[in-house]
């Protein structure tokens, strides 16, 4: 055989080599598309954001347990592979490679931080790894500047859609139509500024004051005095618990009590730590586990309660994130069923055909092959939650709902 090879002309030899390499590559690629029946995550399981990783695990494991008890997907039980990235983008990139190569899971689920999701975009493209976000709301996670997002989907809120929602709610409640903006000096907070300005311009209103603060600031008097003096009777907030507590304390000092409409950085825990000061704060979200739940959500809550030793829905610090994760797993399961195989590319293509009714919304369809529709939760699904007696509840269950 080798003697025959040596008789080939250089051109024939080159053609043979190219075709051999191409055959090998196509075989490798075909092999790489076959995936394991596992859902893998790179989450913040330790460090300052460990509560977010736990929240995601709660939603995902609850849904996976339900699916497996009902027989699994395509006859196979789903596994959960949880990797810790401590909120660091570099670790998220390492984890994404491991999930795509070693674990070879059919889908990866993202964590809390948008920078981590942005950092793994090239890896997912390179490896052909489907990804589902359940919390990180950065617009650019699914709406790529290049317009070439093929692998990243999201069942969560999207900042570009959140700010108009918040502004609508703020204007609806503002008596003077003077709305101020108070946000943290991070990528998340600063990223919302152009979105809010665009939303205000579209509605023909002006944001009367924009104030920022640093992480770990403990007093917001200066910012609030300026917003008060600008006449803002309603504030849009991009803030998390610790600084929200500082804002509330400073408002109490100044006796300045504007209506507050916040993005979902505020967790249910604020109600326990800041108590009555939180009453009336409105928070954008997708779901609340308090009050009377639909039978299916009630079952999910009871399972979660048992598995994670919870006493009260108030212990679910990220109620919307947990519900997102829960619905995301069912959407993934539907996608696999439609794909008919644990094949990453077929699964990705099937995601555009998924129609499913979850606990948050009826996803009809979940995704569309369009620039801005790799997000299954659309603005009409957004809900307004409110703090009342220290609990974060659906606004309809509180005195803070608008009377129609």
């Amino acid at each position: 055989m080798f003697r025959n090879l040596s008789r080939l002309t250089p051109k024939a030899l080159l053609a043979l080599s190219v075709s051999t390499v191409a055959l090998a590559m196509s075989m490798t690629a075909a092999h790489a598309q076959k995936a394991e029946p596992c859902i893998a995550g790179s989450w913040e399981l330790s460090g300052a954001l460990a509560h977010t990783g736990l929240a995601i695990r709660m939603g995902i494991e609850t849904a996976v347990d339900e699916i497996n008890e009902a027989g699994g997907v395509l006859g196979k039980k789903l596994r959960v592979v949880a990797l810790d990235d401590q909120g660091e983008p570099a670790r998220a990139v390492d984890n994404a490679r491991r999930i795509a190569e070693k674990e070879n899971c059919i889908v990866m689920i993202g964590g809390f931080r948008t920078p981590n999701a942005l950092a793994i975009r090239p890896v997912l493209t390179e490896m052909g790894q489907p990804w589902m976000g359940v919390i990180s709301a950065g617009t650019r996670v699914t709406e790529w500047e290049t317009g070439k997002n093929e692998w990243m989907f999201r069942t969560s809120m999207k900042d570009r859609w959140v700010t108009p929602f918040l502004l609508d709610q703020a204007l609806e409640r503002s008596k003077t139509k003077k709305v101020g903006f108070l946000y943290e000096a991070t990528g998340w907070g600063q990223g919302a500024v152009p979105d809010l300005e665009a939303a205000a311009k579209a509605k023909g209103v002006t944001i009367v004051g924009k104030e920022t603060f640093n992480i770990a600031d403990t007093d917001m008097s200066a910012q609030l005095i300026r917003l008060r003096d600008a006449g803002a009777d309603t504030l849009v907030l991009y803030v998390v618990d610790r600084e929200a507590n500082a804002i509330l304390r400073s408002m109490e000092r100044l006796n300045y009590r504007p209506t507050m409409v916040s993005a979902w950085g505020i967790s249910a825990q604020l109600g326990q730590t800041a108590g009555k000061l939180t009453d009336g704060i409105l928070v954008a979200g997708t779901y609340a586990w308090t009050g009377t739940l639909e039978p299916r959500a009630q079952k999910a809550w009871e399972r979660m309660q048992k598995k994670f030793n919870l006493k009260h829905p108030g212990e679910l610090v990220l109620p919307s994130g947990i519900a997102n994760a829960y619905d995301a797993v069912y959407i993934i399961a539907e996608g696999i069923k439609l794909a008919g195989d644990f094949d990453k590319k077929k699964f990705r293509d099937a995601m555009y055909k998924v129609k499913y009714e979850g606990i948050i919304a009826k996803y009809d369809p979940a995704f569309e092959p369009k620039f801005d529709r790799h997000d299954s939760i659309i603005p009409t699904h957004y809900k307004l939650l409110a703090f009342h007696n220290g609990n974060l509840m659906r606004v309809e269950q509180t005195p803070y709902a608008m009377k129609k």
Binding site: T218, Q223, R242, N245
Partner: protein, 291 residues
């Protein structure tokens, strides 16, 4: 007028924290010519321990006392294990690394055991704000500058009127001579670190009812308090408290009249400029070395 008073009052409270934590650096430096660079995390530890002990059912005052005692022991332990073995001669700097490292360990361990989210320390003095001349404050906050000034006078009295205090001063003047005179220098260092940690923990406990106790609350405070101690001249308790309180007030006025974002940049720049003009610190004196 109301806003000027507001910035002054909140600055007074913030400055009280800087002053108390900086006093700890002063005490440690006087005893060993070294310091626990994780002192900011001791401030955090005091607050977190008080929250946990109160949650376990202890009355606030008892829980606070235990938290201070445990923090003092931690401070003494840090001196014994992480400073003393690495501070064997005048040029030794190993203690910097060891104390910074233990700070990271302390913060991580607290996050793992206590959790990453803030918890409040209930105090009747932080329930309702009191309003005065268009400004507002919590009585709890005013305890901080009062405690700083109180600690400063108590320290001065302790250094002048007690045997142990005099021994500490002797060590601060000349460690070798003090040792030759029969003073147990190592024991003095141990007490000094314990005392510094107790004062740092007190600051954390006093502010926790207003800002919540979180594992990450100490790092920046520790850094700024160290800056305050250096700018003051580190060897002068009155200077440390005056600079600490003033720095808190200056920060609030920067926030109010210049920019919130510029606060740290302008604040640290001011520190550098002061040190350029007064290399020994505002209240420091040039040390005379016989050659």
């Amino acid at each position: 007028m109301g806003e000027i008073l507001q910035y002054f009052l909140t600055g007074l409270s913030l400055g009280g924290i800087y002053a108390l934590v900086a006093l700890g650096f002063y005490i440690m430096w006087e005893a060993t010519r070294a310091a626990n660079f994780t002192h900011g995390d001791i401030y955090m530890l005091g607050a977190v321990l008080a929250v946990v002990l109160v949650e376990l059912g202890m009355p606030l005052v008892v829980g606070a006392a235990f938290a201070i005692a445990i923090s003092a022991l931690t401070g003494a332990l840090i001196e014994r294990v992480l400073v003393r073995p690495f501070n064997t001669d005048a040029n030794a700097i190993g203690w910097m690394l060891t104390t910074i490292a233990v700070g990271i360990v302390l913060e991580s361990a607290t996050t793992l055991t206590y959790g990453p989210l803030g918890r409040s320390l209930p105090s009747p003095l932080a329930e309702n704000a009191i309003r005065l001349g268009g400004a507002g404050f919590y009585i709890q906050e005013l305890l901080l500058p009062i405690a700083a000034i109180g600690c400063m006078f108590a320290l001065e009295a302790f250094y002048r009127r007690t045997t142990l205090g005099r021994a500490m001063r002797a060590v601060s003047f000349n460690r070798v001579t003090a040792g030759l005179m029969g003073i147990n220098v190592n024991q003095i260092a141990l007490y000094a670190y314990g005392l510094a940690a107790a004062i740092g923990a007190l600051a954390g406990i006093l502010i926790a009812p207003v800002i919540q106790a979180v594992p990450t609350m100490g790092a920046l405070i520790g850094l700024k308090a160290f800056g305050v101690a250096i700018v003051a001249g580190i060897s002068n308790a009155r200077g440390v408290v005056i600079v600490g309180i003033s720095y808190g007030i200056i920060e609030k006025f920067i926030e109010g009249y210049i920019s919130t974002g510029a606060r740290n940049a302008i604040g640290f720049t001011l520190m550098i400029l002061v040190l350029l003009a007064f290399p020994q610190g505002l209240f420091g004196r040039k040390e005379v070395t016989k050659v």
